[in-house]
Amino acid sequence: MTDTQRNHTHHRLWLTVSGLLIAISLVVSGCGGVVEKSNAQGSVATANGGTLTYALATSPDTLDPHRSGLAVSVRVMRTLYDSLVVQTADGSIKPWLAESWTVSKDGKKYTFKLRKDVKFHDGTPFNAEAVKFNFDRVIDPATKAANALALIRPYTSSKVIDEYTVQVNLSTPSEAFLGNISQAMLGIVSPTAAKQEGEQFGKKPVGSGPYQYVDWKDNTSISVKKNPDYTWAPETVKNTGAPHIDGITFSIIPEEATRIGSVQSKQVLAAETVPPQNILALKNSPDLQLLQANTLGLPYTLFINERHAPWDNVKARQALQSAIDVNAIVKTLYLGTYERAWSALTPGILGYDESLENTNQPDLTHANNLLDELGWVKGQDGIRIKDGQRLTLKYVDGSPNREKRNDIAAMIQQQLKAVGIDVQVNITKDISTVVYQNGEYDLYGNSQVNSDPNALSAFYHTAEPSARPTLPGLSDPQIDQWLEQGAVEKDKDQRANIYRNVQQRINELAVIIPVYIFPYTVAASQTVQGISFDYLGYPLFNDVRIGG
């Protein structure tokens, strides 16, 4: 072999390598160009038009409002469906698809006069028949309705009076009813499409909302486009007509770092559920804005299971309340970005009892005294013992670490150790079996978004013998009576008083430890204007504009 040959081979290798390098750098620069171009498009867009890209933290289960069980679906469903009525910021009920309504004296018949100019996206006219179809669909077992079923109670039937008048019948009066039908999960679907698509309706949703459905790519994105015919928005938004923008693409980005990264790198214009550690950083970013709305209903609350000794004794429960430093937990974990909760209800809801704020301060001496009184004596390892039994507490929490709830468990474990309680934390995905079926918990936390204080009933009213027990397993005749009264009381002030009583009584009985109020947090580009929030804290996109 000659030198020339040797050089030749040598050359070929380096040619290949440098060729590859050039190819790679071409790909890199080419791709960089793509991203920059899309940025430019975003900032050039005028006040009208453009597409809002909005990152969701989890995937909706279905876009069939009556069958959905997830709050995340509501973000999308609120763009597709309208409701009969709307609840405004002060909690009052205003017209939407229904122009007006009357309630019978016994509170069991609601007669709605409907708008005559409303059409579903598929052209089906909206009328009394459509309302009847929708409400009957929710209670039809074949629909397998989820949360919608709970919301529509005590609905029994509807009667079409004339084309634009419908009478809705309830089995018992309910002051929560109008608020409940304002929710997206009782949004009105197109009867034609719902009948035609059957089980698949959730993947081909048709409503009468400001946006209409385009497509859904599994786990990736859901797109909606503007409904140009829309003229029937409720008074909670400024723009009564069709949206200013062309559409919305909801990207599904479960990984926190990727979701926040996508807003920072301008790949999406807005992203929901910003983790506390990012909130502070984003607040200081000049290109981004932070939008926050506290959700309404039941705050994240730890329920003490009264069905298990020793927690059936009020003193034992009070000891827990005194030993747990909720302030420390909320400050440490949420860095001042979440408000702590004091009551069984969140602020802002009818009847919220402000007087409970700043009560139940941590008091270790008090906690120790109560446990001493009950005869639990500290053993050698610092854990209390009575009749040979160690004082243990089963703390169940769901997986994954949603809103740092697993960390709350860890902190409580430490705090309760100080008063001699051995906390056994069980973090499991299978809440339905462990908590709801087997009741294997002493402490379990939950929250619920709701517009009406009547939501307390599902958690604190004595469960019927055949039904599943409530989370605290509470049975208090006084609370039961108030909750029943509250459901039917027509006088708003009276009603508020009743729920204040309930909250105070729950506090006296020490069945819960309220922890935090969840703020729905959105990070958005400065170029996005007009994202607003409804009464429950869900985003509304009617007024959105994208522009300079």
């Binding site: 072999m1 040797r6 890199v28 960089g32 959730g202 990207s251 790949q267 709801y436 039904a467």
Partner: protein, 309 residues
């Protein structure tokens, strides 16, 4: 030769059947009630729960459920999702191309980086380039992909703005996830190529070639490399399977469409038919790839072919 293919095929079928049984049994034996995870337990009445159980056939004994399940699978009926009633098979088929592209791109990156660095590493044994290549290999193998993925997003998406952090439209969205996954594979390939190169270089025929006065480069890149690449084919084949599995994490981190993402979500939601469908589908793929690799290197390496006949 034909006999080999037949026995391999039969054993492959057994592997598929085994994985099916395993997935089915795991879900059957897992504590917890799939029906309860489908409807909100706060509101459902016991009657509703029971009806749903009967409707899903979950009230039947194990062997009947398993029998129905096998029969359905054989007919190509993968059932419908428990979460939203979507048929499972079309869901898999619609999402598969995206996973396939990611897998192939990652494999290409793994082979490209792996072979180049592996050769350089062996040729410059114990030099700085060898140390560098081995460090990169070790890094690739030991770093969890969700971590390196997020690291790449932080650097190349947020800081530099070169590539998108998420999505599955276009080549630009493919780069970061493919590199994340490719680096892992590259780690294995680097090691394999390096070891195999060093082994070949110490064989007598290389000495003979040297004695004949053939240049070092020709020996290295023509004779040694060709022989050294044979075991690499196996590693690459196995890597394709690994990459396929790796997409479960990567597709979630980068919010890509794909069957890995579907699987991750279905597991979280206890959506049993979807989990079973995806596992069955990937088991078939895995087995087919391995079969092809086995068959292919009987062609590549005459020694194996001879030993088999």
């Amino acid at each position: 030769m034909v006999q080999t293919i037949i026995t391999r095929t039969i054993s492959s079928l057994l592997v598929i059947l085994g994985s099916l049984t395993l997935v089915f049994a795991i879900f059957y034996l897992l504590p917890g009630d799939p029906v309860l995870s489908m409807i909100d337990p706060t509101y459902a009445t016991p009657e509703m729960i029971e009806n749903l159980r009967i409707q899903l056939g979950l009230d039947q004994p194990f062997y009947i459920q398993f029998g129905h399940y096998l029969a359905d699978m054989l007919r190509g009926d993968f059932g419908v999702s428990m979460v939203n009633s979507d048929p499972v098979l079309p869901k898999i088929i619609a999402n598969f191309p995206s996973t396939l592209i990611l897998t192939l791109a990652s494999t290409c990156i793994a082979v490209l980086i792996g072979v180049i660095l592996g050769i350089l590493s062996a040729v410059h044994r114990n030099g700085w380039i060898d140390i560098l290549a081995r460090t990169i290999g070790l890094f690739g193998i030991s770093m969890p992909t969700f971590w390196s993925g997020i690291l790449l997003i932080l650097i190349f998406s947020i800081q530099l703005g070169w590539f998108p952090a998420m999505g599955s439209d276009g080549i630009s969205t493919l780069v970061l996830p493919a590199i994340t996954l490719g680096i892992v594979g590259a780690g294995f390939v680097i090691r394999m190529v390096r070891n195999s190169m060093l082994e070949v270089l110490s064989e007598p025929f290389i000495t003979t070639l040297r004695a004949k006065g053939i240049s070092r480069h020709v020996i290295l890149y023509k004779h040694a490399l060709r022989n050294a690449l044979i075991p690499v084919v196996t590693v690459v084949g196995m890597q394709i399977g690994e990459m396929l599995a790796g997409t479960v994490v990567i597709e979630t981190v980068f919010s890509r469409q794909g069957i890995g993402r579907i699987l991750a979500d279905a597991i979280m939601a206890r959506d049993i038919p979807v989990v079973q469908g995806v596992v069955f589908f990937t088991a078939i793929l895995y087995v087919v790839i391995n079969l092809l690799v086995d068959i292919s290197y009987t062609y590549i390496d005459p020694r194996i072919r001879r030993s088999l006949t």
